[in-house]
Amino acid sequence: MTRLTARGLIQAGLISAGLAAGAATGAHAQAEDVTIGAIGPLTGPAANSGEAHRQGLELAVKEWNEGQGDYATENRFQVNFVMEDSNSKPEVGISAAQRLITRNSADLIIGDTLHSHVTLALMEMAPQYNVPILSSEPVSSVIADKVLSDPERFKLYWKGNWNSDGYGIAVHDFYAWAFENGVVPEGDKKIAFVVEDTDYGIANAEKIGELFEGDGWTVVATETVPTATTDFYPQLSKLRDLDPDVLVSVFTVVPSGVSFVRQLGEQALEASHLAIYYPTKPEFMEQAADIAEGMYWASLQFSPEITPAHKEFSDRMEAAFGVPANYSHAHAYCTMVIALRAIDEAGGTDPEAVAEKLGATDYECLLGRFQFGDDHAIQSGPDFIPVPVAQIQEGQNQLIWPENVATSEPQ
């Protein structure tokens, strides 16, 4: 048996003291770190968007950690970032959130980055686990309605995008302007929708239909198709008989949009077509620029070819990840910056303090001015996040409405 000596005891004591000091230093550094979790569709048909979100979020974290962030205070903290897959399914998103909270001790969760139906499930986690949750791209007004139904319960949840009303009002006001200026004929005042079967698609169709009906229009069809559908012939055959004057399509998966636009051309429908969301993806223009000539779409919020700040962001994204930026990169980036600034201003990760600072956000980011309303959703409109309408002209996107931001006349 080894004998304990005074010298040995002193050595052991010194080592222990050193370890304790090291541990204390480590603990101190750990206390200054913040863990942000994110949940988005990294697999499945919407993985393209989820991957763009991941890159946008990571770029914001990278810049923050490297001292290049837009800090709110002089405090500095390092950010650990973990992203989990929702596979576009609420139940998978919930499991991912539980892992982020219990395994990673996430101080704030950004999720879902894309889907309204996943967010509707995830937002319940905020009161259950006392963790601030900030969704990114989802727009369904149902989310905001849920917040308004019980503001106290959802005080830790914030919606990083505007409501479906934003699209609804923009589409309605654009067509009102187009009818008045003879850009599009009103015809028999019949409108039809082909939308994906998600809260996002349905909420947009409902809001736009409601506004048009208020002007005396008739909704002749609302066709909801499963996500990632690419065969629209049965729907288009039916719509040709119904002969709508305006046709609105809403898809988050690009191939759905490409197929729809192609088949619409093959069926030679005479309706004025306005697309929502899918033309924001560069792949859409790569695959459909020739067949989508003249198509209206909402909303062109990120346009490196028109806006120098967007071009500069796209260059940064390309330098970091080797891909040019699109709308999803920009939105995710802004969402993360808002989250980081809220933690910065809160002076720590106390959930209520962070949520309060999130609610007080008033920040100019790439897409416009981010400010939350009473329903915890980002506000849209000329003073906040504009929702302009574009038209594809000679294979290029051109802003055509509102007139004060237009880069071209409608053709």
């Binding site: 990294l42 697999t43 499945g44 048909p45 993985a47 393209n48 989820g50 991957e51 079967d197 069809a221 609302t222 066709e223 909801t224 198709v225 499963p226 990632a228 690419t230 065969d231 012939y233 049965p234 729907q235 055959s237 039916k238 040709r240 008989d241 998966v253 690009v254 191939p255 490409v258 197929s259 093959e266 069926q267 030679a268 792949e283 695959q287």
Partner: protein, 291 residues
Amino acid sequence: MSVAGFLELVINGLISGSIYALIGSGIALIYGTTRVLNFAHGELLMIAGYLVFFFAVTLGWNVFLASLLTLVLVGAIGALIQRVTIAPLLAREDWAFRVIAATIGLSIFLQSGAQLVFGERFQSVPYFFRGVLVLGDLRMPWQRIAIFLIALAIMAVCALILYRTQLGRIVRATAQDAEAALAVGIPSGLVHTSVFVISAVLAGAGAILLSPLISVNPWMGISYLLKGFAVVILGGLGSFGGAVAAGFLLGLIESFSVGFAPTEWRDVIAFTFLIAVIWVRPNGLFSGREA
């Protein structure tokens, strides 16, 4: 509804149905011969989609040559899957659930592998046949008409092989009683592999015909697998002819349900019909005519 609208519903139903029939008949053929439900069948469709994209778009080869090579390779992959994944399990006593678990695992593995290798971006294959057939008010792209005609031709060839050739007789003999077939000198293992090859080729043909319409992506087989199983159940488990007929029937039901009701009711109507069939004829419309 106009006459042109009605005709378009019929044609659209037949076109969707021809793809369901191609995929469902492949599943039925395997089940009828080996009693294996292959949950990785949709991934054969996906692999064929990537192969035809690689040959026809990336390498810019002639579409016919690209398609031919795709069918050969996907057939070989089908054989490999049978030999490596299925055959060893069939040698065990309690193979039924093991095979289901193995093919589900293989399906997830292939989807994830495709995402890792090819990325999450959807790949576009251009139309093989350009132009639109216009007959009065009826408009139909030649690509869609070609899908129907080619699928019909492929299934006719398969039916000929199954019912009019020595190989077909061997397959049907093995389907009826593998042990008796083995006793009279028919190598049932080889027959099982051949059936997987034919089934993979049918899925590959479906993928080649579909790829210009649906874009190639790691998950392209999922929805078609579900429809394929529905077709197999509707037609009668294991019946090749039943699966073909049920494929066309399901396509027509879907097309007409969209024509007369909002699209959200399509699957409700189609699967209500399926449940009704199972209720009246538990073994499917064409049960008892295996392989």
